[in-house]
């Protein structure tokens, strides 16, 4: 696959997508919660930029709207809500180190390779652009998943969840010129409602286990059930 033969705008898209992937790694290993939220906001902004570039290349007008929606939702509103919640829960200075950061990062690298391995035979070799972009989005989704597994702090898990959404959106926008508008609006609405509910849950978690460390959620076991 010779990337330099692609049209310039597609090359730009690939660069942007690569930075999105890089930010996934940043999110994965970032110990300070506030910085992680900032990294997530940048990731959202980049996805919005990708959407805008796709809209400009393909003359797809409804994508301008999606770009604005993504920017508003993923780069501004959700990070702002998370910011406010961390301040309210007094977690601004909260740091959380991974158990073994090197291993987890290696795992993420392996996931990127795995994504390429999965996607390469699937799409014809002449569609270099699509192949790369789908592989990158899949990698972003899987790294988000990895983050949700290895981070034990509730806010960090939510960041992982939201960055999975970013990966999905990246795939939808760049491989297929965006989903139909009804679906896109529905997905955006679901994400927003999910964020509000996550906020509610942070408060409920703090009230019930006095911390947001979800490793402490261990009352429900297989043979447990003697709850009362």
């Amino acid at each position: 696959m010779n990337l330099t033969l692609l049209p310039l705008l597609q090359q730009l898209l690939l660069v942007l997508a690569a930075i999105v992937l890089f930010l996934s790694f940043v999110l994965l290993a970032q110990v300070r919660l506030i910085s992680a939220i900032h990294a997530f906001a940048w990731q959202g902004a980049l996805v919005a930029a990708v959407t805008a570039v796709v809209a400009a290349t393909g003359q797809v007008h409804h994508l301008y709207f999606s770009a604005a929606l993504t920017l508003a939702l993923k780069a501004l509103l959700i990070p702002w809500m998370l910011h406010r919640l961390t301040r309210r829960l007094e977690l601004e200075r909260h740091t959380e180190s991974l158990q073994s950061p090197a291993l987890v990062t290696m795992g993420a690298v392996a996931l990127v390779i795995f994504s390429y391995w999965l996607v390469l035979p699937m799409i014809h070799a002449e569609m270099t652009f699509t192949r790369n972009i789908i592989a990158i989005s899949l990698a972003v989704v899987l790294i988000g998943l990895l983050m949700m597994v290895f981070r034990t702090q509730a806010v960090a898990q939510v960041l992982g969840f939201m960055s999975m959404e970013n990966g999905l959106f990246l795939a939808a926008v760049s491989a297929t010129d965006g989903m139909p508008l009804v679906v896109e609006l529905g997905v955006a609405f679901d994400v927003l409602v999910a964020m509000v509910l996550f906020g509610v849950f942070f408060l409920q978690l703090r009230d019930s286990i006095d911390s947001l460390d979800v490793d402490r959620l261990n009352r429900l076991r297989e043979t447990g059930g003697d709850s009362q």
Binding site: L118, V119, P121, M122, I123, T130, I134, S137, L138, V141, G144, L145, M148, A154, Q157, F161, M164, E165, G167, L168, A171, A172, A175, T176, D177, M179, P180, L181, V182, V183, G186, V187, F189, D190, V193, A194, L197, F198, V200, F201, Q204, L205, D207, S208, I209, V214, L217, N218, R219, L220, E222, T223, G224, G225, D226, S227, Q228
Partner: protein, 502 residues
């Protein structure tokens, strides 16, 4: 379109109104009224489908253009699930009214959370009916995710640490699962764009189904894996089932009844619809039955593992949620097996399992109120304290365990026959799984029903009408499937497998 609007808009508007209604007693009745109207709409829709064979339409076509609006398609396969969903919605709201009033009286929740409860109940019904009736795979995804969002606050309704933990697990696991399903949906859309000219129609199920043979097999194969893992999380397939027993056991009992009886069905419905697409796409390749084989594998593992876990449970609602996983596994296996007989059996099993399981959860709710706990060790002698509850539990468990003459026996018998015909060795696994599950249920049920009741155990005010209705329906389906229903299921079988059974 009119009956469809009635089915969809009633719960949506009902949810909004219930969110504003301040008096819990009125809200209980109002909730029941909304459910009854939805059921009326569903029956009307059923009649329309019976006459015309298929009802379809587009909402908002003027706004977004003819193919970009919200398309609906109701055929023999989903209409019976719509009627079933609306029906269980009514009977559960009959049960929920006095049950939740009791919960309010003993002070487990306040009037504000009662409002959330009623509003979310109807919103949940709306999302499920939307997921069933929509023709757009993307909207279906939005609706299934919406069902998670609507129920997650209900799981944590009691705000005990256990309930919050269960809700968090439910939220995160189903959120992740459903995100993977969205990736599968995007891949499907990508495959569709190579064959379907109109980009806006690329997620419309009927268009995709008509062009299924042109969809790129390599893409669809990967897409189906993501879709199966995603929606399979909501079906409760092992190993993605971790959320299910927690969410069922910690939420209020009416919620367990609708989650177990309806949500799992809707997720399985989504999987089957997608399997139909993938089968069309893979028909010409070297592995035409890949989707079916995946379903059989996941289904069989869920069926066997859940049967074993039944033995280890200490919480009565957890036990029955494992029984749900077991039955969903059986249905998934049957849909994977394919063929008219197995599909017919699986469709019938969806119906009887929903009816029986929601009846059981309603009974369990009363039993837990009698004993004051959900712990199996402390529920004793129900039949002496309150014969109605004891007998219902016994009959319900007999029905779910597959005793003749109940409907579950019928459908399991059909499934076993189909398995014997096309994959004889699996019969052994199925039979031993059924025996293990049977033993698991009865070793726990026996002391709960017949044991010596603790001193001072008092009967509670219980409304057994929904249970009686459900169990008699299951009995009726076991003795004689009415002609119109058999015809209906046969048409659904024709739709899924391309061949008649009857």
């Amino acid at each position: 379109m009119t009956p469809l609007m009635l089915v969809l808009l009633t719960p949506l508007l009902g949810a909004l109104a219930l969110g504003l209604l301040r008096r819990p007693v009125v809200a209980g009745w109002f909730n029941l009224g909304v459910s009854v109207i939805s059921l009326g709409g569903a029956l009307w829709l059923g009649a329309a489908v019976a006459v015309t064979g298929e009802v379809s339409g587009t909402l908002g076509a003027q706004l977004f253009g003819p193919s970009a609006g919200l398309g609906f398609r109701v055929d023999a396969f989903n209409v019976y699930l719509v009627v079933l969903t609306a029906f269980v919605g009514v009977t559960t709201s009959i049960f929920s009214r006095p049950y939740m009033r009791y919960v309010l009286e003993i002070g487990r929740i306040g009037p504000r959370r009662m409002r959330t409860y009623h509003s979310m109940y109807q919103l949940f019904m709306f999302t499920m009916l939307l997921a069933l009736t929509t023709d757009n795979l993307g909207v279906m995804w939005v609706a299934v995710e919406g069902a998670t969002l609507a129920t997650v606050l209900l799981v944590s309704l009691y705000r005990t640490p256990e309930a919050v933990e269960a809700a968090w697990k439910y939220f995160i696991l189903c959120g992740v699962g459903i995100a993977l399903a969205l990736f599968g949906t995007v891949l499907t859309y990508f495959a569709a764009q190579q064959v379907i000219a109109d980009p806006a129609a690329g997620l419309t199920w009927s268009t995709l189904y008509a062009n299924a043979d042109g969809l790129e097999p390599a893409v669809m194969r990967l897409a189906f894996v993501f879709l199966l893992v995603g929606y399979g999380t909501k079906v409760g397939l092992v190993p993605m089932h971790q959320w299910l027993p927690d969410a069922h056991s910690e939420g209020p009992t009416p919620m367990s009844a609708v989650l177990s009886g309806l949500l799992l069905n809707v997720a399985l419905y989504a999987v089957v619809r997608l399997k139909m697409l993938v089968d069309g796409s893979l028909a010409e390749t070297a592995s035409p039955h890949l989707a079916g084989q995946l379903l059989m594998g996941f289904g069989l593992v869920s069926f066997l593992v859940a049967g074993l876990f039944l033995h280890r449970q200490r919480d009565i609602k957890r036990m029955f949620s494992y029984s749900s996983i077991e039955h969903m596994g059986l249905m998934t296996f049957a849909f994977g097996l394919g063929g008219p007989l197995a599909t017919f059996g699986a469709l019938l099993h969806m119906l009887v399992h929903s009816l029986t399981k929601s009846a059981i959860f309603i009974t369990v709710g009363h039993a837990a109120h009698i004993a004051g706990t959900q712990s199996i060790d402390q529920i004793r002698g129900l039949i002496r304290t309150q014969p109605a509850v004891g007998w219902s539990l016994l009959i319900g468990v007999a029905a779910i365990a597959g005793f003749p003459p109940f409907g579950v026996f019928m459908s399991e018998f059909l499934l076993l026959t189909a398995t014997m015909k096309s994959a004889p060795w699996f019969t052994l696994a199925l039979l031993s799984g059924l025996a293990v599950a049977f033993a698991g249920l009865f070793r726990h049920i026996h002391p709960m029903v017949y044991g010596v009741p603790p001193e001072g155990q008092q009967p509670v005010e219980a409304n057994m009408i929904p249970v009686a209705v459900h169990l008699s329906l299951v009995l009726w389906l076991g003795l004689a499937i009415p002609g119109f229903l058999a015809d209906w299921l046969d048409r659904a079988t024709l739709l899924i497998t391309g061949a008649h059974l009857l």
